[in-house]
């Protein structure tokens, strides 16, 4: 399977965010903490759940707990996709 790109994540994040909190994900958002991007812990869970469904992964709680920035998510998902390739 192809890699999980920052653009893929951005698409999922924009779908997760509602109008009130729609964040500015232009520029370098990858290294910014989710909290600064107005994504609370439930929103991060929602992102992880979308990724689970789309990429047929099982993401354990502990892995989600360690996803503090978008880059953590991209790195985790690519690691899992490589393992299952």
């Amino acid at each position: 399977m192809s890699a999980f790109t920052p653009e893929d994540l951005k698409t999922i994040m924009l779908r997760t965010a509602d109008e009130d909190t729609a964040s500015d994900l232009d520029g370098d958002f990858l290294g910014r903490p989710f909290a600064d991007l107005d994504f609370d812990s439930l929103a991060v869970l929602e992102i992880a759940t979308s990724i689970q469904e789309r990429y047929h992964l099982v993401i354990p709680d502990q892995a989600i707990a360690e996803m503090t920035t978008p880059r953590d998510v991209v790195d985790y998902v690519n690691g899992q996709l490589r393992e299952s390739a």
């Binding site: 812990s41 439930l42 869970l45 709680d61 989600i64």
Partner: protein, 345 residues
């Protein structure tokens, strides 16, 4: 005892128990809501939160915080007294008092023994149970089995909490959610089944989802600068668990009662969070007309008191009536969970 000695001692009798198996039901409900109403608009600024965020992520508009006079015992006694009156049962006829509580800040004596004493339940056994936000269905399950087996004639099952005593008031993750109150039911004998078999369990591997920050360690006495243990929750872990694991438990309880989800008139989930309530209500497969308790809007999360408080609200506002079939499900720290079908008193 050696085999030889066993042969020498004659058998003098065999144990017998009276066969009293019968049905059980909830005969009466009573609640206590603290006087003081605290709105999310009032709490939000001091927690650095938006009121809109609190509403969107929890559904809580208002909650009740107990005053110093509204002690855990006072609230439990008030709720239990009303439940006895509603059931038409005197305290003297209560065979056992069970209090489910997570916020009774002493090891002994139990809250149940004190509540029983004040009410005049002079013949009752009494004990507390700790099953966090699943406490009420746990207590009802125990009460029902006691009545059915003849261990007790009538049982008071009480959920009582002063969550504000164990919540850190500046914790933006919990302080807007948890609140205070008490609810009680009298469980007694019945000609027909009024409480279905419990579906319950636990999963200690999820202990970090919600719990306390530490123990009441003696070192706290020696160093006054150390923080007291407080409630700590990773709400998303609770949400994930509840919305992936609990619908099958609910269906198991319904099946054990010989019903299907479409037979359920009223859904009484622990009032944890509106998002969990809505997700569960959608997953279980109820009929379209099912009435869903959403007392969390005005009561917050009162842990073991939330289910009776929610039922009281539905009855008081005429949304449900006596005789309807409800599914109660509680879930919380442990994690632990319990569900059963009940006939509304």
């Amino acid at each position: 005892m050696t085999p030889a000695a066993r042969e020498e001692k004659p058998v003098t009798g065999s144990l017998s128990v009276p066969d009293k198996a019968r049905h059980s039901r909830i005969l009466g409900l009573g609640v206590y809501r603290p006087e003081r109403v605290v709105s999310s608009a009032e709490l939000a600024p001091r927690l650095g939160l938006d009121e809109a965020w609190i509403l969107k992520r929890s559904g809580v508009r208002n909650r009740r915080f107990a005053s110093p006079e509204e002690t855990l015992a006072m609230m439990a006694e008030a709720a239990a007294g009303k439940a006895l009156a509603a059931a038409g049962v005197t305290a003297w006829d209560v065979g056992c008092v069970i209090v489910a509580t997570t916020s009774h800040l002493t090891q002994m004596p139990s809250l149940a023994s004190q509540v029983g004493h004040v009410l005049g339940a002079g013949r009752a056994a009494a004990f507390d149970i700790l099953a966090a936000c699943a406490g009420f269905p746990y207590a009802v399950a125990l009460a029902s089995d006691m009545v059915r087996s003849g261990t007790a004639g009538h049982v008071l099952a009480i959920g009582a909490e002063r969550m504000t005593d164990i919540v850190e008031p500046t914790d933006a993750g919990t302080a807007f959610l948890f609140a205070d109150g008490a609810g009680a039911v009298v469980v007694g004998p019945s000609d027909t089944p009024g409480i279905g078999p419990v579906a319950w369990g636990s999963d200690g591997s999820r202990a970090d989802a919600v719990g306390m920050t530490g123990y009441w360690d003696p070192v706290l006495r020696e160093d006054a600068s150390l923080p007291w243990p407080r409630l700590s929750m990773q709400g998303w872990r609770v949400y994930r668990w509840a919305t992936t694991e609990l619908a099958p438990v609910a269906r198991q309880a319904i099946d054990a009662a010989g019903l299907t989800p479409s037979d359920i008139d009223v859904f009484l989930p622990h009032q944890a969070n509106m998002l969990i309530i809505d997700a569960l209500a959608g997953q279980i497969g109820f009929g379209e007309g099912v009435i869903v308790a959403r007392d969390i809007q005005n009561s917050g999360n009162t842990s073991s008191a939330s289910i009776p408080l929610a039922l009281d609200h539905l009855l008081a506002t005429g949304q449900v009536k006596s005789g309807m079939t409800a599914l109660a499900i509680g879930f919380g720290s442990g994690v632990v969970y319990a569900a059963q079908v009940i006939e509304i008193p």
